[in-house]
Symmetry: C2
Subunit: 209 residues, 2 copies
Amino acid sequence: MEELKTFPLFNTCTDEELQELLQSPHRREEYVAGDLLVNAGTPCRSLMLLAQGTVETRMGGANGREVVIEQMRSPTVLAPAFLFAEDNTIPVEVSMRTDGVVWYINREAFFNFMTQHPHVLRAFLQTLSARSRFLSGKVKGFAVKGLRDRVLDHIRKHDTITNVSETAEQLGVARPSLSRVLAELQADGLVERINLSNNVKAYRAVIQK
Amino acid sequence: MEELKTFPLFNTCTDEELQELLQSPHRREEYVAGDLLVNAGTPCRSLMLLAQGTVETRMGGANGREVVIEQMRSPTVLAPAFLFAEDNTIPVEVSMRTDGVVWYINREAFFNFMTQHPHVLRAFLQTLSARSRFLSGKVKGFAVKGLRDRVLDHIRKHDTITNVSETAEQLGVARPSLSRVLAELQADGLVERINLSNNVKAYRAVIQK
DNA sequence: GGTAAAGTGTAACATTTGTTACGAGGGCTT
DNA sequence: AAGCCCTCGTAACAAATGTTACACTTTACC
């Protein structure tokens, strides 16, 4: 139960309230790295709470092209947008990147819980909204920007790039393409290559005036 | 008030319930085609209900490249995902494509209304979820598919293409590129050109066995 | 009916990104 | 130290899409 209190969704809840929620059907499941949590197309029938570990969501293409959409660390709500949808099939594949723990809580019980505890409802709406904003930004990134801008955005968000292959995968581009763009950005003075304390090479955005 | 009853969000509501909601601050605004409803970056403080007309949402890029993301017909909830978000600025520009009517309803009043009427809450959650799914599909489209597939998807959704320029804009590609792909699809027998009853030319997907 | 405007198909060329291949360097094991 | 594996940079080429330009048709309007 202490695990649940780490969630923003519940951090306004008293112990009594959580006890009340846990009266209803639920379960706690442990996973190891690599486990497949949900297959694309699976219907979402429970609230899924990632209490420990890191997951990776992927959207597969028919042509074999695959794009890593996102990595999420605990604590986080998985697939909140499909729990109450009319079509509640989850369109992405979710797998564990590390060992981890997921709680499953009955949908209707959670729904009733929300109606009785407005602060939880509000937090859930915020969670849902954050997902929408994230996707919205994603669309904007793909639709409106060239690769150079996408790379710069990514560096600014993550401070540095220490793993080109992985970053290329996250951005949905081929590794040599990313290498090339990084070289260009370096030539233009927008990005520099530095050595981290642990003597690892990294790319970092040059501080602009 | 009859306008509000056309919304799926309220179609389970009695007249009394709607009366109750309309006790709280709200207003009804009329617009003409071309009016700008919300500028990108505007915070969202009220529930916005498009009761009449059609809107167009755009995401602008710094480089001048613009992509039409979506058109929405009444009745529909505008920007539901930003009403209760922590960062509630709307990231898109919304403008009227036709004359129309928008209702604005106080956020907190609506929130309280939802907590007291679970069927409205459920409908609102479904609306939010549908938006997420839409965006999710959009991301998948951009990330995972080539232009040919995007065009085929678009034709299947819309049955026909009667306006190449507009379609190109909606898909976020240059018009000649779309023309070229349409010609290829035609050569491959996946798309055919037909004459509509009103003697307008159109592209249509060939029925596959 | 004539004229301007808008939409369209098409071609040539530029730009961006993907693909494939190869060699250099670093860390790890033996 | 040798061998291996992984990541990376780089180059040459291929594929996809954008850009520009022009001629043709249809539409709208006077």
